[in-house]
């Protein structure tokens, strides 16, 4: 689904990403872990087509990246909900922009369990509810690639685990390819078939793991992988930080 070959990106003189390569098959999830400022958000913006790579090659579904690709859906860290639209209107925004019928928004809200909040304003919702609206807005577009930028970082621990489970069940039902950027190691290991560890700026890959224990917080393999990812993360910080 996504293929990155030696992708690099710079903001003026600052190199944000260097020599990032990976391949993510369709229907799999990739968790990107790294310290603040390691270029995780830059990587997502590149995949979403909002930025152009300075070096290397990046393709989505075999095509060069394109901000208008209809199957790609990006959920931003602050959720990007418009304060002047109700929950229902926010969930339907992608449909309205693409000129599609709006009823898919109601289905998406129902699927994610917040249909009854349709007439509320975003500022009347809790953090977890806002997150759900943002996910519903993406789901309404029936994406084949879901990109998420630290989606749960602003939530309390319990809500966070709840949302992780929600995300997992969406993946199980739809088989959507997902890229999830996070600074939580446990979240990465719980949700990612692949886990990619980036070093501090400039972001370089310092560890790449295949994860057989997705969706299991209790197994030995989970805890071992958490430790391995932590080692890679600390080594990356020690070498580059």
């Amino acid at each position: 689904m996504i293929r990155a070959e030696s992708v690099g990106y710079s903001y003026k003189e600052t190199v944000a990403l260097r020599d990032v390569s990976f391949a993510l098959p369709a229907g799999q999830t990739l968790a990107v872990v790294g310290p603040s400022g390691c270029g995780k958000t830059t990587l997502l913006s590149l995949i979403a087509g909002l930025l152009e790579p300075a070096t290397g090659r990046l393709t989505v579904a075999g095509q060069p990246i394109n901000p208008r690709r209809p199957g790609t859906s990006l959920i931003m860290q602050d959720y990007g909900l418009l304060p002047w639209k109700t929950v229902r209107e926010n969930a339907a925004l992608g449909l309205i922009i693409r000129g599609l019928p709006r009823d898919r928004a109601d289905q998406a809200l129902a699927e994610i369990g917040i249909r009854e909040l349709g007439d509320r304003w975003p500022h009347q919702l809790s953090g977890g509810q806002r997150q759900r609206v943002a996910i519903a807005r993406s789901l309404a577009l029936d994406p084949d690639l879901l990109l998420m930028d630290e989606p749960f970082s602003a939530l309390d621990a319990l809500t966070r685990e709840e949302m992780q489970d929600t995300l997992l069940s969406i993946w199980q039902r739809h088989g959507t390819t997902m890229v999830l950027v996070t600074h939580s190691i446990t979240e990465a290991v719980y949700l990612g078939h692949q886990i990619m560890v980036l070093s501090p700026r400039p972001g370089q890959v310092v560890g790449h793991f295949q994860n057989p224990s997705v969706g299991d917080r209790r197994s030995r393999a989970y805890h071992e992988l958490v430790n391995n990812v932590r080692d890679a993360l600390e080594k990356g910080v020690a070498q580059h930080g």
């Binding site: 901000p67 931003m76 002047w84 639209k85 693409r98 500022h123 009347q124 577009l141």
Partner: protein, 248 residues
Amino acid sequence: MARRHWYHYAIALAIMAAGWEALALSLHTPAFPRLAEATRAFVEAFSGGPGLQHFYTSLYRVTLSTVISLVVGIPWGLYLGRSGGPIGNVLVYLLHPIPKVVFLPVIIVVMGIGDTSKIFLITLVILFQVVVTVRDAAAGVGQGLIRSVKSLGGSEWHIFRHVILPASLPGIFTALRLVTGTAVAVLFFAETYATKYGLGSLVWDAWSMRQYGLMFAGVMAMALMGFGFYVLLDWAERVICPWADSQR
């Protein structure tokens, strides 16, 4: 802003009446009549006939000027706030402080002495208040929301329609509150020449004939007109920007 009830209006009116009486009693001059005298003159002048004609003429001029200043000023302000270069902004800064009234002779030469010149003068005075207020509202729109609409495949039009315009609406209402007040105040100047009707000319004529009761009756009518605009605007903002209302 808290919801207002009728007694809030009553209390504000009482404070104003008390202030009026205190001032009238301490000044003790025919140039500032007692409240009762002004009220009597007000009732007499506006209970029909020419008084109402004065009122409607002014109302028409203020409303039309406001509408024109919005039609011209909102797109201008949105443009300056989103993509306007430094030159456009410097131009506005240079033009805004100029006392527009000094152009009156030119306006009269070009447009004649009729309604057109009066409406143009009022529009000229309030236009830049609209431009500056709307520009600042549009410039303050968060980059995150624009990215959000872009990431959904939104075009420049979608960004304008779903982000810039709604984000600027409260600012547009602020502009409206500013300019309707100013527009009513400018009436006094715009209606000093070549007009039979208008609150400005009513006040002006009463002044020159030392009918101070009638003069203040005209001032009261101006205050009422401005007040009516504010009430109307508050209501319109609640209907058009319901999200902002529920935040209060």
